[in-house]
Symmetry: C2
Subunit: 141 residues, 2 copies
DNA sequence: CGTGATACCGAACAAATTTTCCATACCCGA
DNA sequence: TCGGGTATGGAAAATTTGTTCGGTATCACG
Protein backbone atom coordinates (compact mmCIF):
# COMPACT_ATOMS: atom_id res chain seq x y z
CA UNK A 1 0.00 0.00 0.00
CA UNK A 2 2.41 2.65 1.17
CA UNK A 3 5.56 3.24 -0.77
CA UNK A 4 7.70 3.78 2.25
CA UNK A 5 10.91 1.87 2.53
CA UNK A 6 10.36 -1.49 4.06
CA UNK A 7 6.68 -1.54 3.49
CA UNK A 8 6.26 -1.85 -0.24
CA UNK A 9 7.21 -5.25 -1.50
CA UNK A 10 8.25 -5.21 -5.12
CA UNK A 11 9.97 -8.53 -5.16
CA UNK A 12 11.80 -11.05 -3.09
CA UNK A 13 15.09 -9.23 -3.25
CA UNK A 14 15.56 -5.66 -2.20
CA UNK A 15 18.46 -3.56 -3.34
CA UNK A 16 19.18 0.07 -3.40
CA UNK A 17 21.42 1.15 -6.23
CA UNK A 18 22.32 4.72 -6.92
CA UNK A 19 22.84 5.57 -3.33
CA UNK A 20 23.62 9.19 -4.03
CA UNK A 21 19.90 9.68 -3.53
CA UNK A 22 18.03 8.04 -0.74
CA UNK A 23 15.32 6.04 -2.37
CA UNK A 24 12.07 5.02 -0.89
CA UNK A 25 11.14 2.53 -3.55
CA UNK A 26 13.61 -0.33 -3.88
CA UNK A 27 14.95 -1.18 -7.30
CA UNK A 28 13.38 -4.41 -8.39
CA UNK A 29 16.30 -6.58 -9.35
CA UNK A 30 14.35 -9.72 -9.86
CA UNK A 31 14.06 -8.56 -13.45
CA UNK A 32 17.38 -8.75 -15.31
CA UNK A 33 16.33 -5.98 -17.65
CA UNK A 34 15.51 -3.62 -14.83
CA UNK A 35 18.76 -4.48 -13.07
CA UNK A 36 20.79 -3.52 -16.12
CA UNK A 37 18.75 -0.43 -16.80
CA UNK A 38 19.01 0.76 -13.22
CA UNK A 39 22.78 0.90 -13.55
CA UNK A 40 22.94 2.98 -16.71
CA UNK A 41 19.68 4.84 -17.12
CA UNK A 42 20.65 8.12 -15.49
CA UNK A 43 21.05 10.99 -17.81
CA UNK A 44 24.80 10.89 -18.47
CA UNK A 45 25.95 7.50 -17.25
CA UNK A 46 26.02 5.87 -20.63
CA UNK A 47 28.01 8.80 -21.99
CA UNK A 48 30.49 8.60 -19.13
CA UNK A 49 31.01 4.90 -19.78
CA UNK A 50 31.49 5.69 -23.44
CA UNK A 51 34.13 8.30 -22.67
CA UNK A 52 35.99 5.79 -20.52
CA UNK A 53 35.78 3.04 -23.10
CA UNK A 54 39.34 3.47 -24.31
CA UNK A 55 40.65 2.21 -21.01
CA UNK A 56 42.80 5.15 -20.13
CA UNK A 57 41.75 6.89 -16.92
CA UNK A 58 40.17 10.32 -17.07
CA UNK A 59 40.19 13.11 -14.55
CA UNK A 60 36.85 14.65 -13.62
CA UNK A 61 37.76 17.93 -15.30
CA UNK A 62 38.47 16.07 -18.50
CA UNK A 63 35.12 14.31 -18.36
CA UNK A 64 33.44 17.67 -17.81
CA UNK A 65 35.16 19.03 -20.89
CA UNK A 66 34.07 16.09 -23.00
CA UNK A 67 30.45 16.34 -21.88
CA UNK A 68 30.01 20.11 -21.78
CA UNK A 69 26.21 19.96 -21.82
CA UNK A 70 26.06 18.06 -18.56
CA UNK A 71 25.86 20.03 -15.37
CA UNK A 72 29.13 19.43 -13.52
CA UNK A 73 27.29 18.57 -10.34
CA UNK A 74 25.44 15.78 -12.09
CA UNK A 75 28.61 14.30 -13.48
CA UNK A 76 30.04 14.26 -9.98
CA UNK A 77 26.98 12.49 -8.65
CA UNK A 78 26.81 9.99 -11.44
CA UNK A 79 30.52 9.21 -11.28
CA UNK A 80 30.06 8.53 -7.60
CA UNK A 81 27.15 6.23 -8.28
CA UNK A 82 29.03 4.41 -11.01
CA UNK A 83 31.85 3.90 -8.53
CA UNK A 84 29.49 2.66 -5.84
CA UNK A 85 27.99 0.21 -8.29
CA UNK A 86 31.46 -1.04 -9.16
CA UNK A 87 31.40 0.06 -12.79
CA UNK A 88 34.24 2.57 -12.48
CA UNK A 89 37.19 2.75 -10.14
CA UNK A 90 38.36 5.98 -8.61
CA UNK A 91 41.94 6.75 -7.74
CA UNK A 92 42.66 9.70 -5.51
CA UNK A 93 46.16 11.13 -5.57
CA UNK A 94 47.19 12.84 -2.35
CA UNK A 95 48.40 15.95 -4.09
CA UNK A 96 47.68 19.62 -4.16
CA UNK A 97 45.88 20.79 -6.11
CA UNK A 98 43.72 17.69 -5.79
CA UNK A 99 43.85 15.08 -8.50
CA UNK A 100 41.75 12.02 -9.09
CA UNK A 101 41.09 9.62 -11.91
CA UNK A 102 38.27 7.39 -12.97
CA UNK A 103 38.66 4.28 -15.07
CA UNK A 104 36.43 1.43 -16.12
CA UNK A 105 36.46 -1.68 -13.99
CA UNK A 106 36.17 -5.07 -15.69
CA UNK A 107 32.53 -5.03 -14.63
CA UNK A 108 32.04 -1.63 -16.23
CA UNK A 109 33.87 -2.78 -19.34
CA UNK A 110 31.47 -5.69 -19.58
CA UNK A 111 28.75 -3.12 -20.21
CA UNK A 112 30.52 -1.74 -23.27
CA UNK A 113 28.76 -4.09 -25.69
CA UNK A 114 25.50 -2.58 -24.51
CA UNK A 115 26.84 0.92 -25.00
CA UNK A 116 28.12 -0.09 -28.44
CA UNK A 117 24.83 -1.40 -29.69
CA UNK A 118 22.94 1.59 -28.33
CA UNK A 119 25.43 3.96 -29.93
CA UNK A 120 25.15 2.26 -33.29
CA UNK A 121 21.37 2.22 -33.13
CA UNK A 122 21.33 5.91 -32.34
CA UNK A 123 23.68 6.73 -35.20
CA UNK A 124 21.65 4.70 -37.63
CA UNK A 125 18.32 6.22 -36.65
CA UNK A 126 19.28 9.78 -35.84
CA UNK A 127 18.22 11.01 -39.24
CA UNK A 128 14.86 9.32 -38.89
CA UNK A 129 14.17 11.16 -35.66
CA UNK A 130 15.39 14.42 -37.09
CA UNK A 131 12.57 14.13 -39.58
CA UNK A 132 10.10 12.59 -37.20
CA UNK A 133 10.04 15.25 -34.54
CA UNK A 134 9.11 18.82 -35.06
CA UNK A 135 12.00 21.13 -35.52
CA UNK A 136 11.65 24.30 -33.53
CA UNK A 137 13.64 26.66 -35.65
CA UNK A 138 11.58 29.64 -34.61
CA UNK A 139 13.19 29.55 -31.20
CA UNK A 140 16.58 31.13 -31.39
CA UNK A 141 19.13 29.91 -28.87
CA UNK B 1 20.47 30.58 -18.54
CA UNK B 2 16.85 29.71 -17.97
CA UNK B 3 15.68 26.21 -18.70
CA UNK B 4 12.37 27.25 -20.10
CA UNK B 5 11.30 25.81 -23.38
CA UNK B 6 12.75 27.75 -26.23
CA UNK B 7 15.36 29.48 -24.21
CA UNK B 8 17.84 26.84 -23.26
CA UNK B 9 19.91 25.67 -26.17
CA UNK B 10 21.30 22.21 -25.67
CA UNK B 11 22.23 21.54 -29.24
CA UNK B 12 21.40 22.35 -32.78
CA UNK B 13 18.47 20.02 -32.95
CA UNK B 14 15.55 20.14 -30.59
CA UNK B 15 13.16 17.29 -30.12
CA UNK B 16 10.59 16.41 -27.59
CA UNK B 17 10.09 12.69 -27.14
CA UNK B 18 7.85 11.18 -24.52
CA UNK B 19 5.11 13.66 -25.06
CA UNK B 20 2.91 12.15 -22.38
CA UNK B 21 4.61 14.64 -20.11
CA UNK B 22 5.21 18.18 -21.20
CA UNK B 23 8.89 18.74 -20.96
CA UNK B 24 10.68 21.99 -20.53
CA UNK B 25 14.11 20.66 -21.27
CA UNK B 26 14.46 19.31 -24.80
CA UNK B 27 15.99 15.89 -25.27
CA UNK B 28 19.43 16.35 -26.73
CA UNK B 29 19.47 14.12 -29.75
CA UNK B 30 22.78 15.24 -31.06
CA UNK B 31 24.20 12.39 -29.03
CA UNK B 32 23.30 8.97 -30.44
CA UNK B 33 23.56 7.38 -27.03
CA UNK B 34 21.14 9.82 -25.47
CA UNK B 35 18.75 9.43 -28.39
CA UNK B 36 18.60 5.68 -27.87
CA UNK B 37 18.39 5.96 -24.12
CA UNK B 38 15.62 8.52 -24.28
CA UNK B 39 13.42 6.03 -26.09
CA UNK B 40 13.77 3.15 -23.66
CA UNK B 41 14.87 4.50 -20.31
CA UNK B 42 11.48 4.86 -18.66
CA UNK B 43 10.72 2.41 -15.96
CA UNK B 44 8.90 -0.31 -17.85
CA UNK B 45 9.56 0.42 -21.53
CA UNK B 46 12.30 -2.14 -21.94
CA UNK B 47 10.08 -4.74 -20.30
CA UNK B 48 7.18 -3.87 -22.57
CA UNK B 49 9.39 -4.25 -25.62
CA UNK B 50 10.58 -7.58 -24.25
CA UNK B 51 7.03 -8.80 -23.81
CA UNK B 52 6.25 -7.87 -27.40
CA UNK B 53 9.38 -9.47 -28.78
CA UNK B 54 7.61 -12.59 -30.02
CA UNK B 55 5.82 -10.55 -32.63
CA UNK B 56 2.29 -11.44 -31.70
CA UNK B 57 0.20 -8.47 -30.64
CA UNK B 58 -0.82 -8.09 -27.02
CA UNK B 59 -3.82 -6.41 -25.50
CA UNK B 60 -3.21 -3.89 -22.73
CA UNK B 61 -4.84 -6.15 -20.16
CA UNK B 62 -2.47 -8.92 -21.13
CA UNK B 63 0.54 -6.64 -20.74
CA UNK B 64 -0.74 -5.61 -17.33
CA UNK B 65 -0.95 -9.26 -16.32
CA UNK B 66 2.57 -9.96 -17.49
CA UNK B 67 4.02 -6.98 -15.64
CA UNK B 68 2.00 -7.09 -12.44
CA UNK B 69 4.42 -4.90 -10.49
CA UNK B 70 3.91 -1.96 -12.81
CA UNK B 71 1.17 0.49 -12.01
CA UNK B 72 -1.44 0.17 -14.77
CA UNK B 73 -1.48 3.90 -15.33
CA UNK B 74 2.24 3.88 -16.04
CA UNK B 75 1.91 1.09 -18.56
CA UNK B 76 -0.80 3.07 -20.33
CA UNK B 77 1.42 6.13 -20.46
CA UNK B 78 4.48 4.28 -21.60
CA UNK B 79 2.60 2.33 -24.25
CA UNK B 80 1.34 5.63 -25.54
CA UNK B 81 4.82 7.07 -25.63
CA UNK B 82 6.21 4.00 -27.35
CA UNK B 83 3.49 4.38 -29.96
CA UNK B 84 4.21 8.08 -30.39
CA UNK B 85 7.88 7.29 -30.87
CA UNK B 86 6.99 4.70 -33.49
CA UNK B 87 8.30 1.71 -31.61
CA UNK B 88 4.96 -0.03 -31.22
CA UNK B 89 1.80 0.12 -33.31
CA UNK B 90 -1.63 0.28 -31.81
CA UNK B 91 -4.71 -1.22 -33.36
CA UNK B 92 -8.09 -0.20 -32.03
CA UNK B 93 -11.01 -2.47 -32.76
CA UNK B 94 -14.35 -0.69 -32.87
CA UNK B 95 -16.00 -3.13 -30.54
CA UNK B 96 -17.71 -3.15 -27.23
CA UNK B 97 -16.33 -3.82 -24.78
CA UNK B 98 -13.33 -1.98 -26.20
CA UNK B 99 -10.42 -3.92 -27.56
CA UNK B 100 -7.00 -2.80 -28.71
CA UNK B 101 -3.69 -4.40 -29.46
CA UNK B 102 -0.10 -3.34 -29.45
CA UNK B 103 2.62 -4.89 -31.53
CA UNK B 104 6.21 -4.07 -32.32
CA UNK B 105 6.90 -2.01 -35.38
CA UNK B 106 10.00 -2.79 -37.46
CA UNK B 107 11.61 0.19 -35.76
CA UNK B 108 10.77 -1.23 -32.36
CA UNK B 109 11.98 -4.64 -33.41
CA UNK B 110 15.29 -3.08 -34.37
CA UNK B 111 15.75 -2.30 -30.69
CA UNK B 112 15.50 -5.95 -29.69
CA UNK B 113 19.24 -6.59 -29.96
CA UNK B 114 19.69 -3.89 -27.33
CA UNK B 115 17.06 -5.51 -25.12
CA UNK B 116 18.74 -8.87 -25.66
CA UNK B 117 22.17 -7.76 -24.63
CA UNK B 118 20.83 -5.95 -21.58
CA UNK B 119 18.79 -8.97 -20.59
CA UNK B 120 21.76 -11.29 -20.88
CA UNK B 121 23.99 -8.92 -18.94
CA UNK B 122 21.42 -8.73 -16.17
CA UNK B 123 21.05 -12.48 -16.00
CA UNK B 124 24.79 -12.99 -15.87
CA UNK B 125 25.37 -10.42 -13.14
CA UNK B 126 22.27 -10.78 -11.03
CA UNK B 127 24.01 -13.01 -8.56
CA UNK B 128 26.86 -10.53 -8.20
CA UNK B 129 24.46 -7.78 -7.26
CA UNK B 130 22.57 -10.03 -4.92
CA UNK B 131 25.78 -10.34 -2.95
CA UNK B 132 26.90 -6.78 -3.53
CA UNK B 133 23.93 -4.95 -2.12
CA UNK B 134 22.67 -5.28 1.36
CA UNK B 135 19.85 -7.68 1.76
CA UNK B 136 17.12 -6.30 3.92
CA UNK B 137 15.72 -9.46 5.33
CA UNK B 138 14.70 -7.82 8.55
CA UNK B 139 11.93 -5.99 6.75
CA UNK B 140 9.10 -8.36 6.19
CA UNK B 141 6.88 -7.65 3.25
C1' DC C 1 -29.75 -4.10 -10.32
C1' DG C 2 -25.05 -4.74 -8.83
C1' DT C 3 -20.50 -6.34 -10.02
C1' DG C 4 -16.76 -6.91 -12.97
C1' DA C 5 -14.08 -6.65 -17.29
C1' DT C 6 -12.51 -3.69 -21.07
C1' DA C 7 -9.62 0.67 -22.39
C1' DC C 8 -8.38 5.07 -21.26
C1' DC C 9 -7.68 9.55 -19.17
C1' DG C 10 -7.60 13.64 -15.55
C1' DA C 11 -5.76 15.26 -11.54
C1' DA C 12 -3.40 15.50 -7.32
C1' DC C 13 0.17 13.77 -5.08
C1' DA C 14 4.74 11.40 -4.11
C1' DA C 15 9.22 10.36 -5.41
C1' DA C 16 13.33 10.63 -8.09
C1' DT C 17 16.50 13.21 -10.77
C1' DT C 18 18.58 17.32 -12.50
C1' DT C 19 19.79 22.11 -12.19
C1' DT C 20 21.63 25.95 -10.03
C1' DC C 21 24.18 28.37 -6.74
C1' DC C 22 27.37 28.49 -3.28
C1' DA C 23 31.04 26.73 -0.33
C1' DT C 24 35.42 24.42 1.03
C1' DA C 25 40.58 24.33 0.41
C1' DC C 26 44.88 24.63 -2.00
C1' DC C 27 48.09 26.06 -5.63
C1' DC C 28 49.83 28.90 -9.57
C1' DG C 29 50.56 32.86 -12.36
C1' DA C 30 49.75 37.79 -13.44
C1' DT D 1 46.02 40.15 -3.95
C1' DC D 2 43.04 38.76 -7.49
C1' DG D 3 41.42 35.49 -10.60
C1' DG D 4 41.57 30.82 -12.36
C1' DG D 5 41.96 25.80 -12.09
C1' DT D 6 41.54 21.53 -9.14
C1' DA D 7 38.00 18.17 -6.67
C1' DT D 8 34.06 17.82 -4.04
C1' DG D 9 29.84 18.52 -1.60
C1' DG D 10 25.49 20.97 0.73
C1' DA D 11 21.18 22.72 -0.12
C1' DA D 12 17.20 24.34 -2.34
C1' DA D 13 14.66 24.85 -6.43
C1' DA D 14 13.07 23.09 -10.78
C1' DT D 15 11.85 19.40 -13.55
C1' DT D 16 10.64 14.84 -14.74
C1' DT D 17 8.72 10.51 -13.69
C1' DG D 18 5.80 7.44 -11.14
C1' DT D 19 1.78 6.50 -8.01
C1' DT D 20 -2.82 6.54 -6.56
C1' DC D 21 -7.53 7.46 -6.89
C1' DG D 22 -11.34 8.25 -9.34
C1' DG D 23 -14.01 8.96 -13.54
C1' DT D 24 -15.88 7.95 -18.54
C1' DA D 25 -18.44 4.37 -21.25
C1' DT D 26 -20.24 -0.18 -22.73
C1' DC D 27 -21.29 -4.96 -22.35
C1' DA D 28 -22.07 -9.54 -19.98
C1' DC D 29 -23.20 -12.35 -16.19
C1' DG D 30 -25.82 -13.68 -12.20
Amino acid sequence: MENLFGITRLGDIRYFCNMAYEKKIPVDMDCPLRLTMSLIESKWKSCILDELRGGEPLRPSEIHKRLPEAAPRVLDIQLKELAEDGLVAKTIFPELPPRSEYRLTPLGASLLPIIDVMLRWGEEHMELFEKKYARREELQG
